[in-house]
């Protein structure tokens, strides 16, 4: 398993090139090209703000930015996950031509997803001023939260990359799970708006490892508060998923070449 990490680290230049060129290839044919990196999250945000803020008349004054930071972070997870499912099967030609650590394929998708997060964050920054977010020293927690999420995503994507290679149906399943997870996680709402009982809150936060993480993002970026203690649930799950993912991928890597 440590071996696996070493192998990837040795080929980090390849990983970086994959990321760079894949991003280039994705934007190349589009008229607006690079601008889509900013437009995508913005348009998504507008849809939800209109839906929740105006049509349902809920959400409060800071709703757009609260939603935005949660949306960005959730999108990083989901886009990485759906990319990882086909990450191996979509590179058959390459895999059959040359030996390289296959973990680079799902990983490059995760890094591309992180760049999308960053582009989104660039849009968020001016909005933070417009909607009067409170800046405190708690913003320093942001890199920690991102790291937890990264570890979590890597573990999950390594697992899904293997299973997705064997089971083409997984991409449909993942699309469903992502949709379900979106409504079950505090993205369009904050936990305290929905659940009032303390016991239920605890139950909810413990059962959804992403909940604590997403609430913490909102706390540190917008509310100027420290992360919730439930972020630790996310961190613990992240570590477990990471170890399992790494183990599982390492064990199956050599079989993948023949499965495609």
């Amino acid at each position: 398993m440590i071996e696996q990490l070493k192998k990837v680290w040795q080929r980090r230049e390849l990983l970086w090139y994959m990321v760079k060129l894949q991003m280039k290839a994705e934007k190349k044919n589009k008229v607006l090209g690079f601008a889509w990196s900013f437009l995508d999250p913005l348009l998504l945000l507008i849809v939800y703000v209109v839906l929740i803020g105006y049509i349902f008349g809920r959400g409060g004054p800071q709703f757009p930015i609260l939603l935005f930071i949660a949306l960005l972070s959730w999108r990083w997870f989901t886009s990485s996950l759906s990319r990882s499912v086909t990450s191996i099967t979509s590179k058959v030609g390459l895999i059959q031509s040359v030996r390289f650590p296959l973990a680079i394929l799902p990983l490059s998708g995760i890094i591309i997803g992180f760049f999308d997060w960053l582009f989104g964050f660039v849009i968020l920054v001016p909005m933070l001023f417009i909607f009067e977010a409170s800046f405190t020293v708690n913003i320093l927690w942001l890199p920690v939260l991102l790291l937890i999420e990264f570890v979590d995503i890597v573990g999950a994507c390594l697992i899904f990359a293997v299973v997705g290679t064997y089971l083409a149906d997984l991409s449909n399943i993942v699309q469903f799970l992502i949709r379900l997870g979106f409504y079950l996680s505090p993205i369009l709402y904050s936990v305290k708006d929905v659940i009032t009982s303390e016991r239920l809150t605890m139950l909810y936060m413990l059962s959804n490892p992403f909940a604590g993480l997403l609430e913490s993002y909102k706390n540190v970026v917008i509310l100027g508060a420290p992360p919730t203690g439930y972020a630790l649930v996310g961190a613990a799950v992240a570590c477990v998923v990471f170890v399992i993912g790494l183990w599982y991928f390492s064990r199956n890597e050599h079989k993948l070449v023949k499965a495609i």
Binding site: Y17, L21, V92, S97, V98, A168, V257
Partner: protein, 250 residues
């Protein structure tokens, strides 16, 4: 420098991947109706290649030629036997399967160079001669999906031949180009012959005869014959001939 002994590569035959997914989730659940179809793409294959030799590999479609190259490239670990390869392998980009279709030829040169383990500044050093060799000129900035088969072959061959790796694997790319490309490719082959170890898969017997010092004839995954190019090629051609019915049967 390359030592292959009793190599066997096994694949499972299945109509779709689903059954594989089942037995992948656990021998207990999936194994009951496990399809019996296993086949050996290569079996009992043994040979050695010395430094600087050029080996021609011939055989019918599906006889295991490309699989053998992939084993040498380190893509497939052997299911049986041993393979030891000393020296670095330049990848085979047979007809551009490893190219990213959306990216330009130039970007693909970088991508493929990095994949086979060249550093960026090494590629900077050879990219001009690669582009010159391919004669793609302005096309080098166009996406690879717009290239003709010949253009892809040229690009693949140019990358394989310009990377200074010890072992060069060439899978049927020499014969895809036009006459001018073939001449250039032949000249390049002459240049690197003796210097580097080359494994050459081809259906063009003239190419094999011209360059190979030894020929391996693969037939359904086993070595049918190996040795002097002239002899092996003759045997192979004799065996592939469509048998004609004798006249008295008419």
């Amino acid at each position: 420098m390359i030592n292959v002994s009793d190599l066997g590569i096994k694949f499972r035959m299945e109509k779709r991947r689903r059954s594989r997914a089942l037995d992948f989730f656990g021998e207990k659940f999936g194994n009951r109706q496990r399809p019996s179809g296993e086949f050996w793409a290569l079996r009992h294959v043994s040979f050695t290649v010395e430094r600087g030799e050029t080996i021609g590999i011939i055989g019918r479609n599906g006889s295991g030629k490309s699989t053998l190259l992939r084993v040498i490239a380190g893509v497939y670990p052997p299911d049986e036997g041993q393979v030891s390869v000393e020296g670095e392998v330049s990848t085979l980009f047979g007809l551009g399967t490893g190219f990213n279709q959306e990216l330009s030829g130039r970007d693909n040169i970088y991508l493929n160079g990095i994949i086979i383990g060249l550093a960026k500044n090494q590629i900077d050093g050879i990219i001009d001669s690669i582009i010159e060799f391919t004669e793609l000129s302005d096309f080098i900035e166009m996406p690879v999906r717009t290239y003709s088969t010949g253009m892809r072959a040229r690009l693949g061959f140019a990358i394989a031949i310009h990377s200074d790796k010890d072992i060069v694997l060439i899978d049927e790319i020499m014969n895809a180009g036009d006459a001018a490309f073939r001449q250039k490719a032949d000249a390049e082959m002459d240049r690197i012959m003796g210097e580097r170890t080359v494994l050459l898969v081809s259906h063009a017997m003239s190419t094999i005869e011209k360059f190979a010092s030894k020929v391996i004839w693969l037939d359904r995954g086993v070595i049918a014959a190996m040795g002097e190019p002239g002899e092996v090629i003759e045997q192979y051609l004799a065996a592939s001939k469509v048998k004609k019915r004798p006249p008295d049967e008419y």
